[in-house]
């Protein structure tokens, strides 16, 4: 069954188009990553799906309920962790969770019990106000606050932006535990790695629509997998080096004379790391650095958007 469904979702502000016909299918119990740069429309999509914003066109259903016609049913079935950590900073973690428990219409005793469970589960046994929490703790509290009723569908809008690596890993672990328990998760992110770690399927969003969709592996293979970077000492021989790199490449080779670097997508990193240095040495080209790395989001993004959509200005409301 589809937990989140969007068809031709549109949102315009005057002449600005934030969403331009977004389609989305998120299967029950799966994790979908919306990947895209700032202004692509990710947050707008989440805000519409969580009933915070009315679409200008198209339709969307969450947990089987139309987001415009049955917002209250949608709200009973979702948890939202927004872009900003939306906990009350003057309340303690426990007071926050009890407050949100009461607003979920739990009785006082049930709200207290649920708060205790969530504090335990997220390691938040800290008595001070939330403003004294670390960024990671605040984010975990935020996540806990969205899980009061164990919602079947959870929305995470850039859940780890601005967090240190340890906190990021903790959030990832928490999300994976939820998914293991059957929760459907829709998360937006600017980080390919995050989508890679968490998402079953990734939708790349640009200018308010989905420009590519698939498993992380499918998307990466569309880019030709990893990227090989070779920096050579003598700029005169850049063209020769590009020729050698081309033999191991799965796509077009880019040359950057200023950096004395050639760069190419490679499908087989081991082959690239053995054959290219050997070929360079055989040709007498001295290499300063040879690396194989994952494509950056910029590269995924530039590659996908360059071929699949016309240039189109998207606006996103923060």
């Amino acid at each position: 069954m589809t937990a989140v469904l969007a068809r031709g979702l549109r949102k315009t502000y005057g002449t600005k188009t934030a969403l331009d016909g977004l389609d989305l299918d998120v299967g029950e119990g799966t994790v979908c990553g919306l990947l895209g740069p700032n202004g692509a429309g990710k947050t707008t999509a989440v805000r519409i799906l969580t009933t915070l914003l009315r679409p200008s066109g198209g339709r969307a259903e969450v947990a089987g309920h139309d987001v415009v016609r049955r917002p209250r049913e949608v709200r009973r079935n979702i948890g939202l962790v927004g872009q900003h950590t939306a906990v009350d900073e003057l309340l303690t973690g426990r007071q926050n969770l009890e407050l949100f428990g009461r607003l979920h219409h739990l009785g006082a005793a049930a709200a207290r019990a649920r708060a205790g469970e969530l504090l335990e589960r997220f390691g938040l046994r800290h008595d001070g106000p939330a403003k004294d929490y670390s960024g990671g703790m605040r984010r975990r509290l935020d996540l806990a606050a969205s899980l009061i009723l164990a919602p079947p569908v959870l929305f995470l809008d850039e859940p780890t932006t601005g967090l240190d690596p340890r906190s990021r890993t903790e959030i990832w672990r928490a999300v994976r535990e939820l998914v293991a328990g059957g929760t459907t998760v829709l998360l937006t992110t600017q980080y390919l790695e995050e989508a890679d770690r968490l998402a079953d399927r990734v939708a790349v969003v640009d200018a308010g629509r989905v420009v590519a969709e698939g498993t992380p592996d499918e998307l990466k293979s569309r880019l030709g997998g990893d990227r090989l970077d070779v920096v050579i000492r003598d700029p005169e021989r850049l063209a020769e080096a590009a020729g050698i790199a081309a033999r191991a490449a799965g796509g077009p080779v880019e040359s950057d004379p200023d950096a004395r670097r050639v760069s190419a997508p490679v499908a087989d990193r081991v082959k690239a790391l053995t054959e290219v240095p050997a070929a360079l040495a055989a040709a007498g080209i001295e290499a300063e650095d040879i690396t194989v790395r994952r494509p950056t989001l910029d590269e995924v993004f530039l590659t996908l958007t360059a071929t699949e959509t016309p240039a189109h200005a998207g606006e996103e409301r923060a």
């Binding site: 709200r75 939202l80 939306a86 003057l90 309340l91 407050l99 607003l103 219409h105």
Partner: protein, 262 residues
């Protein structure tokens, strides 16, 4: 439960959030109560000797109702700050994504801010009694306090509307800055009759003037009087103004809140 009962129950839960703030941060409450007291003492003991007061009146007898009104006026920016901070931090959005009664966000704000203002007013009344201010009768005093809180109630909705429009707490500084001149442009501290003619007329029509004049009348404290229609009907206007402000800004706030999804 019915929708209305949930709206009230959720509203009280939202309001209780502020009450927990008071408990967690008692110094903020203490400062909130102390600030108008300090201003009162500054006016009373520093400027008091140089200010002309109604004939035969002690300065504090005259000053206190003005300060009570002024304190209600200060609530405008307090509400605005709270509303815009919640909006900016995403707390409002979190509330809106919950299956709670949507109106509870505004109801909770109204209840919490009214309680806060009542607390601050109680502190200032105690200060007034300590420096020798006396109301003439308990019944009148009750009526005066009612009118003061009515003004505060109306400014709640204005503050909510401004907070929802501004969407960021920084804009509240502008409103905060304007509260003093708006407060001075009234009969709270000086007689509108001593101002240039047109300015005096504006001061007399300032809603704060009506509330302060009515409070002076009900407290049995000396006031300026005045010949204009508005000055001769302070109690009527002290009801009419807040009712009008509430009517306008309640509708505007609710509409603005509903339009957050646009």
């Amino acid at each position: 439960m019915t929708t209305l009962r949930w709206a009230l129950a959720d509203g009280w839960t939202v309001a209780r959030r502020d009450l927990i703030h008071w408990r967690n941060q008692p110094m903020t409450v203490v400062f909130g109560i102390t600030f108008p007291i300090m201003i009162t003492l500054a006016f009373g003991y520093l400027f008091g000797g140089a200010v002309r007061v109604p004939p035969g009146a002690g300065y504090f007898d005259f000053l206190m109702p003005g300060m009570y009104g002024m304190t209600m006026l200060f609530g405008l920016s307090a509400t605005m700050v709270a509303v815009s901070a919640d909006a900016a931090k995403g707390v409002t959005d979190r509330f809106r994504s919950l299956p709670m009664a949507p109106s509870a966000v505004l109801i909770g704000r109204a209840v919490a801010d009214l309680l806060h203002s009542a607390l601050v007013l109680a502190g200032l009344l105690a200060c007034g009694l300590a420096v020798g201010w006396r109301p003439a009768s308990a019944g009148g005093a009750l009526g005066a306090v009612g009118l003061l809180l009515l003004l505060r109630f109306s400014l709640l909705w204005a503050g909510m509307y401004l907070g929802l429009v501004a969407r960021e707490p920084g804009a509240a500084v502008a409103v905060q800055t304007l509260e003093f001149p708006v407060g001075f442009l009234s009969n709270a501290f000086v007689a509108p009759g001593t101002m240039p003619g047109w300015l005096g007329t504006i001061a007399e029509w300032n809603p704060l003037s009506s509330t302060v004049a009515a409070a002076r009348q009900l407290f049995g404290n000396p006031g300026w009087g005045g010949d204009s229609w508005v000055a001769r009907h302070p109690v009527l206007m002290a009801v009419a103004w807040p009712v009008a402000i509430t009517a306008v800004f309640f509708v505007l706030s609710v509409r603005r809140y509903r339009l957050l999804d646009r």
